[in-house]
């Protein structure tokens, strides 16, 4: 039996707009994934701890507040510290084009800007997680 992909969806930052996070959570569920929804105002420390306890394959961040350049580096370094460097990190939300290369250089695998079709996101996650799994065996 294939293990369903486990995704932690988190909405870091202080704004209260979690609609995008909920929409993506539903889309990933409909793509057959197990989505652990963690709610609003998550710190990178909280998100990493949840990913560890939930044995997540993927962390999906929804960031609309412009705080991505602050949150993402912190999250990536915490993941490495905890030995979770193999967890795939994707970010969706309002991310200026100019910031994308920097996030990718950090180790954020996918950056999805407004207008990205949901299927493109779920397909991206599927292809990356499967590749990771076959590399591990």
């Amino acid at each position: 039996m294939a293990r369903p992909i486990r995704v932690v969806i988190a909405k870091p930052g202080l704004d209260g707009h979690d609609r995008g996070a909920k929409v993506i959570a539903r889309a990933l569920r409909d793509a057959g994934m197990e989505v652990i929804y963690t709610g609003l105002r998550q710190t990178p420390e909280q998100i990493v701890e949840v990913a560890l306890q939930e044995d997540a394959d993927v962390i999906g961040l929804s960031i609309l507040s412009g705080a991505h350049n602050h949150i993402c580096p912190r999250l990536v370094s915490l993941l490495r510290e905890k030995g979770l460097g193999d967890v795939l990190v994707v970010v969706g939300g309002i991310i200026p084009d100019a910031d994308v290369p920097q996030l990718e250089a950090l180790g954020i695998s996918g950056v999805f800007q407004p207008g990205t079709p949901m299927q493109a996101i779920s397909r991206f996650i599927e292809s990356r997680v499967q590749r990771g799994a076959s590399a591990a065996t």
């Binding site: 369903p4 990933l28 569920r29 197990e34 929804y37 709610g39 909280q46 560890l52 306890q53």
Partner: protein, 309 residues
């Protein structure tokens, strides 16, 4: 150190991995659980069930806090349904359990019901074993609603809490449909809402229809406001009182062991039949004859049992 040793040492990451194994890789899980023998049976296993929206997650969060105050470590298994269409799931119970995230003494795992391979019952009961072996004093199982599989889980916990809310005509109705029998402690949550007294009285009334011999447990009906923690200490106290009856706990654990054992035997028996070419042919023939109406299912089974024993 291998995974089993790390689980026994209480390592959170290892617990997380081990639970994924019991969910997805039965063979690997069997090897892992073999190492847990002798380390199991210490944890208090508590089921929390009730209709969606009655506040189960919030109550579980408060129960965990109360047990932490008593110095006990806690493992939480929060179960939500798998979508039968996509096989995916949204597991959202953690939203109400955030306060514990940095407390090493509380491990929270969200689980989906799956629906294949014994689904909920098998993965959940194995996850309980892992948390028990990892040294958790208390394991709280939050079930997804009031389905049959959940009734099974609740029935085999050391103690089961059934939660409802005031004015939930539906909630009380749902309880009549089967979960009245499984509650060792009943909780009317959201006591600040109108109708809490009446809801409690209705449950009391249903309970009074049963007979209670001397020394048998009569489930208490308690009122809480989980959002503030009001009344939660009394719930823990009642649970501890119930589970503190050694005969009762022994009986529950016997039921739990028997259920798990017969489930596994059944599963492996069928797997064995399907595994060997010879017996698989027997199954296929029986299927054909049943489908054609030549033989009834009982006769087919009798034949297979005779030819395979």
């Amino acid at each position: 150190m291998d995974l089993a040793d790390r689980v026994l040492a209480g390592d959170q990451r290892a617990i997380a991995r081990a639970i994924s194994l019991v969910e997805n890789e039965p063979d690997a899980a069997a090897g892992l659980l073999r190492h847990m023998a002798g380390r199991i049976g210490h944890a208090r296993v508590i089921g929390v069930t009730g209709a969606p929206g009655v506040g189960k997650s919030t109550l579980v969060d408060r129960l965990a806090a109360e047990y932490r105050r008593m110095g006990r470590t806690v493992g939480i298994l929060a179960i939500d349904p798998t979508s039968p269409i996509s096989g995916g799931a949204i597991l959202g119970d953690r939203v109400r359990m955030q306060r514990h995230v940095f407390d090493e003494g509380v491990y929270v795992r969200s689980m989906a019901t799956h629906g294949r391979l014994g689904g909920l019952s098998h993965a959940t009961s194995d996850a309980v074993l892992i948390l028990d072996a990892a040294g958790r004093d208390v394991v709280l199982i939050e079930t997804a609603g009031v389905g049959q599989a959940e009734v099974d889980i609740a029935r085999t916990a050391d103690a089961s809490i059934v939660v409802t809310i005031p004015d939930a005509g539906d909630g009380v109705q749902a309880m009549k449909a089967g979960i009245m029998e499984i509650g060792d402690v009943f909780v009317v949550n959201k006591l600040d809402r109108p109708g809490a007294e009446r809801a409690a009285a209705e449950i009391e009334e249903m309970l009074s229809l049963r007979e209670y011999g001397e020394g048998t447990w009569r489930p208490p009906v308690l009122k809480t406001r989980a959002a503030t923690g009001e009344g939660v200490a009394a719930v823990v106290e009642a649970v501890e009182r119930f589970a503190g009856q050694p005969a009762e706990t022994r009986e529950r654990r016997r039921t739990r062991a028997r259920t798990r054992l017969t489930d596994l035997l059944r599963q492996q028996f069928v797997e064995r039949l399907e595994h060997s070419e010879e017996t698989r042919k027997l199954l296929d023939e029986a299927v054909e004859r049943m489908a054609a109406g030549e033989i009834d299912p009982y006769a087919a089974v009798a034949e297979i049992m005779e030819r395979t024993s």
